[in-house]
């Protein structure tokens, strides 16, 4: 049985824009704190860890930096079915999310019925720093707003 919603912020908060997913996840939770039970998880690496982090929840939202070549600050939403990988959703030490998800299914892990992925295009991601670049910082409120709206919709439909 699965229950509740988890929002998973991925990335490294010490690597400039790589930490944007974590900041968005916390901001989303702050907005929704008063109306629903929302679990926030920070994850540094994906693959099997990411699958494990959503085990037991009915719904999961994953927020991560992405490096797709789009303009820095671009926000995109992905369904698992048309999703390959954002910056941290695979693990260099085990596997990508899709394989990990199938592995979890195979092993009988209770996995969410609804999963969405959000990517925010990063500009600086391999230099240590605790600040976002201007474009990424500017994209943060919009990303939070869109994710909050999605979670509210899920809740209304349930």
């Amino acid at each position: 049985m699965t229950a509740g919603t988890v929002i998973i912020g991925m990335g490294n908060p010490l690597l400039s824009d790589d930490g944007v997913g974590i900041a968005v996840a916390h901001a989303v939770a702050e907005c929704l704190r008063h109306r629903m039970d929302l679990t926030v998880t920070e994850l540094h690496t994906g693959g099997i860890r990411l699958m494990e982090a959503m085990a037991g929840f009915k719904r999961a939202v994953v927020v991560d930096a992405m490096l797709s070549g789009a303009a820095p600050g671009t926000v995109r939403r992905f369904d698992p079915k048309d999703f390959v990988t954002t910056k941290n959703t695979f693990s260099s030490h085990d596997t990508d999310f899709a394989t990990a998800y199938d592995l979890g299914r195979m092993a009988g892990v209770p996995l969410p019925e609804q999963v969405s992925f959000w990517g925010i295009e990063a500009r600086e991601f391999d230099c240590f720093g605790e600040r976002f670049t201007t474009e990424v910082a500017a994209a943060l409120p919009g990303a939070v707003h869109r994710i909050v709206a999605e979670i509210k919709e899920w809740e209304a439909a349930a």
């Binding site: 490294n12 908060p13 010490l14 690597l15 790589d18 920070e42 994850l43 540094h44 690496t45 693959g47 099997i48 860890r49 494990e52 992405m66 490096l67 797709s68 070549g69 992905f78 079915k81 048309d82 999703f83 390959v84 990988t85 954002t86 910056k87 941290n88 695979f90 693990s91 260099s92 030490h93 085990d94 596997t95 990508d96 394989t99 199938d102 592995l103 979890g104 195979m106 092993a107 009988g108 892990v109 990517g119 991601f125 391999d126 230099c127 240590f128 720093g129």
Partner: protein
């Protein structure tokens, strides 16, 4: 109709997942190098901060081995503050570390190293993964791997004070004692880990050692390099992952040097070659002779296999029996009462990793059964009179010896930070294995995917850790192999997209 959107995180990361193979004028392989991504600005980021922040900063450098950085950083702080941890604290740190080793080595074998052996080196990339392993071995193995990770992650969470990024390491010890109920849970998990490690070794025997083709892959000279071996040893010269002296044996197995981790600068130097930006560490007192092996070349290896090569047997009984079996399978002669001639066949690193998995599980049980493990005396509060302002902490990370070195001013504010991470030690051997694979494959008519995978297998056995976004999945890593002439001109390029 759904449009499939591919987001390739590698496209913008130039130089990542790139292998350059340089040919000489006769068309033979001269050099090979693997471009490893590096994060910038770490020292700058740390200098000016309070030293005691380091265990929680460094454990975020890498998502794969935060525990290794946390423990090495805690040990470096013991030095900075002149605070010797209590016996219980050392045991708690080692206990956390053994729990981590079990999950890390398990995951590597089933998700990364194993697929080449269990599914086959020439199987299509879509099958050469952990799902392919489960389909071949039995679906229940998927559940066993997940259950192994789960029970050990739970322990890491309460022992380390936080999931994934531990926070319990402090100068002079550990911030948290464990209860008797927690101890019972750890004991139970350790017993299950031992059984799972034995199962994994039995699987390796059944599928690899009993299959002549795979046994040939392990024992052939394709990836054979007679380098020096490095590892941390206890007072009896046996492998220890948490603490001890660094022991180096020469290619024939004779002890070359044994030193305290704080003396690393006297023994290790770094070589910069004009054709790559990588710095290759080597043994200073032997010297750099290029990417070549043998007694005269200072290249050393720091891996599960090299750790067993320097060890006088293993300190736990089941792992020691497996250790002996591996060396006897290779026909190695005993050179001391407990130790054998070194194995230089790099594919045996996968086997050594499983033996270490069993050792870590057995050591975890020993520590769980130690009466002192539930002691509330987990910390010595630093005495300002003993403040040293400099500390070096070292552990064996799953992928090689890891060293943290901090210097502070009199207030404990960092003025200098240096780290040698596990993978760095192996830059030269990794390049040599890639070069060797290339030599065998360059003139072969093998299809491109097969060539790319054989080259990948060469570096995957070292379990290198890339601290940021490089794919490293069997058959899935976007990989570009470029053959270049002696002037650097491109002769041929083989490319695999994600």
């Amino acid at each position: 109709m759904t449009t499939r959107i591919t987001i390739d995180p590698i496209t913008r990361l130039e130089g990542h997942g790139r292998i350059d193979i340089f040919l000489n004028d006769q068309g033979a392989v001269e050099n090979a190098c693997f471009q490893i991504p590096e994060l910038r600005g770490f020292e700058q980021f740390c200098v000016g901060r309070m030293a005691e922040e380091m265990p929680v900063i460094t454990n975020r450098i890498c998502g794969v081995c935060p525990e290794a950085h946390h423990i090495a950083a805690s040990k470096a702080l013991d030095g900075v503050f002149g605070a010797e941890p209590t016996p219980a604290a050392k045991k708690l740190r080692e206990l956390l570390y053994m729990t981590f080793f079990v999950t890390d080595h398990t995951t590597h074998f089933y998700a990364l190293g194993g697929p080449d052996f269990i599914v086959g080196p020439d199987a299509p990339p879509s099958e050469r993964n952990i799902l392919g392993v489960a389909r071949k071995v039995g679906l229940e193995v998927a559940g066993d791997v997940i259950a192994c990770r789960k029970r050990n992650h739970e322990i890491i969470t309460f022992l380390g004070g936080k999931s994934i990024h531990p926070v319990a390491g402090v100068p002079g010890g550990w911030s948290r004692a464990i209860t008797t109920e927690e101890r019972t849970q750890i004991e139970d998990a350790a017993r299950k880990n031992i059984e799972f490690a034995r199962f994994s070794l039995a699987l390796f025997e059944k599928i690899v050692l009993k299959n002549p083709a795979y046994l040939e892959m392990v024992t052939s000279d394709t990836y054979l390099h007679r380098t020096y071996s490095m590892g941390t040893v206890d007072a009896y010269n046996r492998t220890n992952f948490y603490d001890g002296l660094i022991r180096v044996v020469d290619p024939e197995g004779k002890e070359f040097v044994k030193y305290h981790p704080s003396e690393y600068r006297e023994h290790i130097a770094e070589r910069v070659e004009s054709w790559t930006y990588l710095k290759y560490p080597y043994l200073k007192k032997v010297g750099w002779k290029g990417l070549t092996d043998g007694m005269e070349s200072g290249i050393y290896t720091a891996t599960p296999l090299s750790r067993l090569n320097v060890s006088e047997g293993l300190a736990t009984p089941l792992a020691n029996a497996e250790y002996q079996r591996m060396y006897e399978t290779f026909g190695c002669k005993k050179i001391t009462d407990a130790r054998y001639e070194p194995i230089h066949h790099r594919m045996a690193t996968h086997w050594a990793r499983l033996i270490e998995l069993l050792y870590a599980a057995e050591r975890m049980l020993e520590l769980a059964l130690d009466p002192e493990i539930t002691s509330p005396e987990t910390r010595n509060i630093p005495d300002p009179a003993r403040f040293a302002g400099e500390g070096i902490g070292s552990v064996e990370a799953p992928r090689g010896t890891l060293t943290h070195h901090y210097v502070t001013d009199e207030r404990g504010v960092l003025t200098k930070v240096n780290m040698i991470v596990g993978t760095t030690n192996n830059y030269a051997p990794i390049s040599m294995s890639i070069k060797r694979a290339a030599e065998k494959l360059i003139t072969s008519a093998a299809p491109e995917e097969a060539v790319l995978n054989r080259i990948e297998m060469a570096f995957r056995l070292y379990d290198p850790c890339f601290s940021c976004a490089t794919h490293f999945l069997p058959g899935k890593m976007p990989l570009t192999v470029s053959l270049r002439d002696s002037q650097g001109g491109l002769l041929r390029e083989m490319r695999r997209k994600a």
